[in-house]
Every structure is written in C-alpha cells, then in structure tokens.
Subunit: 251 residues, 2 copies
C-alpha cells in the first residue's frame, strides 16, 4: 500500500480492517487543530457556539442519510439493524434521540434552539460537506455508502477526549448539556459491528476494498472540512462568510 | 426586503433583477479576500497554482451540471440555447473549449496537466462545493437550477479585474495562459440573457422569486466557500488538509 492508501493487492478481512484503522489514525478529525484547541480548553464560548450550531447540520441530516441507505438495502435483517440508527437520532416515545439532544447541547451553550434548527446561520461549507455525504450515499455503491459510516470506529475516542476535556475546562458546560454523547458510546460500536460485517462480506477484491478505503477517506474529509471551515471563520483568520453566525464575543 | 434578502412582496421583473444584482454586489466572490490578494499581485506562484488546480474541479463539472439542467428542460428552443454552454466547455472540432483552456492555464502556472485533471490533490471543500452545485441542479426546481447560473451576471467584472491584474502583476503569466477568460466575456452575457429571460417568465410570485434569490445566494456561497478553503489552506493559517496539494514554495 502506498502513502495515500492505494492498495496493491487483495487483503484479508483483518488486513483491510487494519488499513481502515490506519485511515482513521491519519485522517480522522481528532487530529484537527480545532479539535485540539477544544480539548485544550482554548476555545471561547462563541467558538463553542459556532461549533455546536454548525455540527447541528450534520446531526440533523443523519436520519436522511441512513434512510437513503435503508432504501438501498435488500436484506431485511440488515434493514432492521440499520433502522436502529434512525431511531437513535430521531428518538421514540421513551427517548428524545440524538438530534434533540444536540439541540439541548446548543441551548446549554446559550444558543436559540429555533435558530440552530433553522440552520440558516450555518457556514455554507458545513452545508456542502453534509450534502456531499448525502450525495455519496445516493450515488455510490451500497458498499461505499455503508463503508462511509465507519468513522464510527473512531468516534468513541474523540467523544471520550471531548467530553472529559469540556467538563474539566469549560466551567459553564455541565454533564447534562453533553447528554448527546453518552448513548453514542454504546450505539457507535454496535453500528460499527453491523457495518464492518457487511464490508467484510462484500469487499473481497482489491477493487471493492479500494472503494471501501476511499469511502472512509471521503467521510474523514467531510468531517475534517467542517472543522477547517470553523477554524477559518472563528479562529484564524476569522473571516466569517456573508450571512453566517457571528458570535457575541467575536472581537 | 430584509437585510438577508427575504422578500416581503411580489416584485416586477426589473425589481427582481435589481435584487439579484444586489445579491451579487454583496455576496459574489469578487469581494473575497483571496480575490483581493490575487488582484493586488500578492499571491505566490504556489498560491496561484493552488487556485488553478482547485478551480479546475469546478470547471470540469460545468458540463455535467449543464447536462443535468438540459435533461430537465422540456422546451426544445431552450434546450438548444442551453446546449451551447456544454459546447463552450467541452469544445468542438474547431475549438478546444473551456476545460482544455483551463488545463492550459494550469500548465502555464507550472502544474502537471494529468495531476490537475485527476483532481486528486484538490481540497475536499472544493469538491464538496462542486457536488453541492450538482445536487442543487438535480434536486431543486428547474427554476432554481437555472437561477443558480446567474452568477454569470457578475463574471465579466471579476474576469476583467483578474486578467488585467494578473498580466500586470504576475510577470510569469502571459495572455496566452489566460486564454480561458477571453471567450467567457462574450459567452457569459449570452448565457445570462437566456437564463434571465427564463427567470423573468417563470418567477412571477413572491415564493418563486424568493427561490430565485436563494438559489443565487447559494451559488455565491459555493464560489465563496471555494476561496475560503484556498485562503485557509494556502494563505492563513496555511493548514493544508491531509492529502491535498502542497505548493513547492510553501514555507
């Protein structure tokens, strides 16, 4: 394999999983400077608001993304398993679901829930990254659509870092506000098991394995570019695009 | 009309056109800091290369964008008119077309044509902006798809500024290298006439006029976000995303 993840032969399932983990180690947004600033406690309240407001666009689109994938799965057992993701984000009679929990996080940071939900102050780059994710699951093969969800392999680590650092270093944020993240720590590994089993079963040639790797890279790029846009608009050089959110503490 | 272009009544065709020009005056990328640096002669050769390499992704997608619109037009005369755009970009037996001219520009800046055409070193944010454009013309109404092309109302101005500044301030770039832009100065106004006539005919209610305005804003956001990404990666703070182009003169 080359430095930019070009495979040169067919891999065994464990070897493929190793490559996927290596993609994560190099390209998951845990390595992004904006995330580092967050866990170092270096972000202002306005910067945290900008993060929550923009990330909402991603959260709010997950059920649409998963419904598109659901519509493409022919196996009923897999559809049943995949359906859980929509329940997790949209909630049910007993639980509010991830999107509502994210609104709660945004509100805890002092944002207006209606403004966040309207997405009208989000950075265009955030919206475009999210639309690219939708387009990937619509247009690429089902294998690639499913593989693109595998960033969840790495999410417990980023959540762990984020939550403990935020509770320690941002005194105005409490555990209740961060309620979004707790269920994710068990949901994500369950989802990964389903997606990895599918990938293992359906990516048995060099070409399909390359597709899987590339889909995961694209998904890492999507998450990374969202932090690029936040960093550019709210950290350095702080050029907020026309019409986007301007924090009260922007100076 | 409010500051963020929310219409409060149905406009006459000239009033609608005024609002569209106002969108351009406020949100077209001629106002972006990266464009200002370019016309001030302040960009390095590597930064100019990054611009040409990324902008290629946009150029290369235009025929796909226009083919999607073409596939949605029911009026044969309008299809004939719209078809010209594809000819302009893909060329014919007598003329190389815009995409090939853009490759020539990139080559004139010292880039490898194959690398540029592969798009593999482009910024993910560039790709996502371009995909958002494709998704807009696929998923929104035909009126919105056509209206999104109206940034061409403003392109002769940006081209005029760009070409004269580049020839004056970047001694290593000659008029031949900038051959892409000359035909655009006549093609764009012709295209605008067609698109504006359609918009005038089909946007006669407040709702459809709002759709037209919003489509133009989204298109401005697409162009703007491409320069945001360039500025972030190559001007300040120069955080190049994993896998993207690194200019030789990056220091």
């Amino acid at each position: 394999m080359t430095a930019d993840f070009r495979l040169d032969r067919t891999l065994s399932a464990p070897q493929l999983e190793d490559v996927l983990r290596q993609v994560g180690a190099e390209r998951y947004h845990i390595r992004h400077p904006f995330h580092r600033l967050m866990v170092d406690g270096a972000l202002t309240r306005g910067q945290m608001q900008a993060w929550a407001l923009n990330r909402y666009c991603y959260q709010a689109t997950i059920p649409a993304k998963d419904a598109i994938i659901l519509s493409r799965i022919e196996d009923r057992a897999l559809r049943r398993a995949w359906r859980e993701r929509i329940v997790d984000h949209d909630g049910d009679a007993t639980s509010p679901g991830g999107i509502e929990r994210w609104i709660q996080l945004a509100r805890g940071l002092g944002l207006d829930a209606e403004v966040v939900a309207s997405q009208r102050l989000a950075l265009p780059a955030t919206r475009f990254a999210v639309l690219a994710y939708l387009r990937l699951v619509e247009k690429r093969t089902l294998l690639e659509a499913i593989a693109s969800s595998l960033t969840e392999m790495f999410s417990p680590q980023v959540i762990g870092e984020r939550v403990s650092a935020i509770l320690q270093r941002y005194p105005y944020i409490d555990a209740d506000t961060l309620g979004y993240f707790t269920p994710r720590l068990t949901q994500a590994p369950r989802d990964v098991d389903v997606a990895l089993a599918y990938v293992r079963e359906h990516a048995r040639t060099q070409d399909t394995q390359q597709q899987v790797v590339d889909a995961l890279i694209t998904k890492c790029d999507i998450l990374w570019s969202m932090l690029d846009a936040l960093h550019f608009a709210y950290v350095e050089p702080r050029f907020v695009p026309p019409g986007a959110f301007v924090p009260e503490d922007a100076g």
